[in-house]
């Protein structure tokens, strides 16, 4: 879907590419209307890549039922925000970190990198494939009612709980990963307090926190070279 993502038309190339088999079927024997449909769907569009499947089938259904191009384009514009916001919150801020953090905790407790890696890939992709499949089917059956379908989506309560669980999992993962490194020789109560303060700085000022973390990591080789001997 995002294979030709660009700053001018965003994900429109992928969306239209995914719609092409349906458009060819809908406008079979009418190359002029097919070209017009391809041209209008190459107009800028963006959404979460997994939920784009919903836009593909919903828009194709409107094309198939002879809805006017003007109404299709208005509907297409209205789809962008909900399909982007819902997908970003559910997948990028919720499901993906949840699966990754669980895998990290599993690795630190169980010790097998392959068990943790396969656990992550299997768990994540169960949700991933389900979401793409649901979006593809519901887009076609909903047509103009995509907004309603999103409101009634089976995962709606899950987004909140994923956020809550993720906050706890980050805390656990930070402690367990720190414990898994050779740096634990430094762990004393005063150091633990300093780390709590560092985490608080990261939370209160995320931009500053990230810059400090990156600077420390990049400066680390210099520290090692000068102090190593």
């Amino acid at each position: 879907m995002q294979g030709s993502w660009n700053y001018r038309t965003l994900v429109a190339g992928g969306l239209t590419n995914a719609m092409l088999p349906l458009l060819r079927r809908i406008y079979a024997g009418d190359p002029v209307r097919l070209a017009a449909a391809v041209s209008r769907h190459l107009e800028p569009f963006n959404a979460h890549p997994y939920l784009c499947a919903m836009a593909v089938t919903a828009l194709a259904r409107l094309e198939a039922t002879g809805v006017s191009p003007e109404r299709i384009m208005r509907f297409r514009t209205a789809l962008r925000a909900p399909l982007g916001a819902v997908g970003d919150e559910l997948v990028w801020a919720g499901w993906r970190p949840f699966c990754a953090l669980l895998a990290i905790v599993l690795f630190t407790l169980e010790g097998s990198p392959w068990v943790a890696t396969l656990f992550f890939l299997l768990l994540y992709n169960v949700g991933h494939v389900y979401l793409r499949g649901w979006a593809f089917r519901r887009g076609w059956s909903a047509g103009f009612d995509v907004g309603k379908a999103l409101q009634e989506a089976p995962w709606n309560g899950a987004t909140h709980w994923l956020t809550v669980l993720n906050a706890s999992l980050v805390g656990a993962a930070v402690v367990l990963v720190a414990w898994s490194t050779p740096a634990t020789t430094l762990l004393r109560w005063e150091v633990v307090l300093a780390l709590v303060a560092a985490a608080a700085v990261g939370y209160a000022r995320p931009g500053l926190g990230e810059r400090v973390a990156a600077t420390l990591l990049i400066a680390a080789p210099v520290v090692l070279l000068f102090l190593g001997g």
């Binding site: 995002q2 041209s39 970190p97 805390g171 930070v174 990963v177 780390l195 990230e210």
Partner: protein
Amino acid sequence: MSELGVSVGLWAVLVVVGAALGLDAASWPQVMISRPIVAATIGGALLGDASSGFLVGAILELLGLGHTPYGAAVYPETGPAGLVAGAGLAASGGSGLGPLLLAVACGWIIGWVGAATVRLQRRINGYLVANLAAAAPYRLEWRHRMAMTIDALRAGALTAAFAVPVMILVKLVSGLPMGGAALPAASAVLLVAIALAGGVGVRVMGGGRIAPLLFGAGGAAAALLILLTG
């Protein structure tokens, strides 16, 4: 290269895997083999130490929590970066704080170099696809595949450029004595970076006012588990 345990064949495998991991991040199939915990584990395994690879990947994963790919956001490209960082640590023997720290730093830097190449790629995609409506709409499929091919080549080139230099660098640092102030300084850098990344991640992922409390509770539970299990 032979002193690192890396043959030309293994380097070529790393490049091909790097290309596949780079492709996965956005182009296809987005099954998240491009995440650091997977990419670095593969890199480590190819050099004989998957566990070291996973540890590097876990730290890079925590560092990347604050970067969510919303809209046109720019974020570190984790596939080739994780692969090279994991391979770098495994090639050094996989133990020691210095090599771990350097592998993570290299992974973070390569991630941002990768981000710059992704931005360039997206500009090229604009020339490939954005003007297509007026020119030749039926060439879309071909141009879409061409954009994906360029993406894979870009990620492969990134891996090819950094794999051996990172392995050499991490191997060199693994030979340095970690005496004096080096060990506590390096330990402090790593622990503070992880703690900061955790705080940033919780803020960016949301969760409202109770998120810091939940973060603390999770950390306390993990600390208690460590104390109880030794």
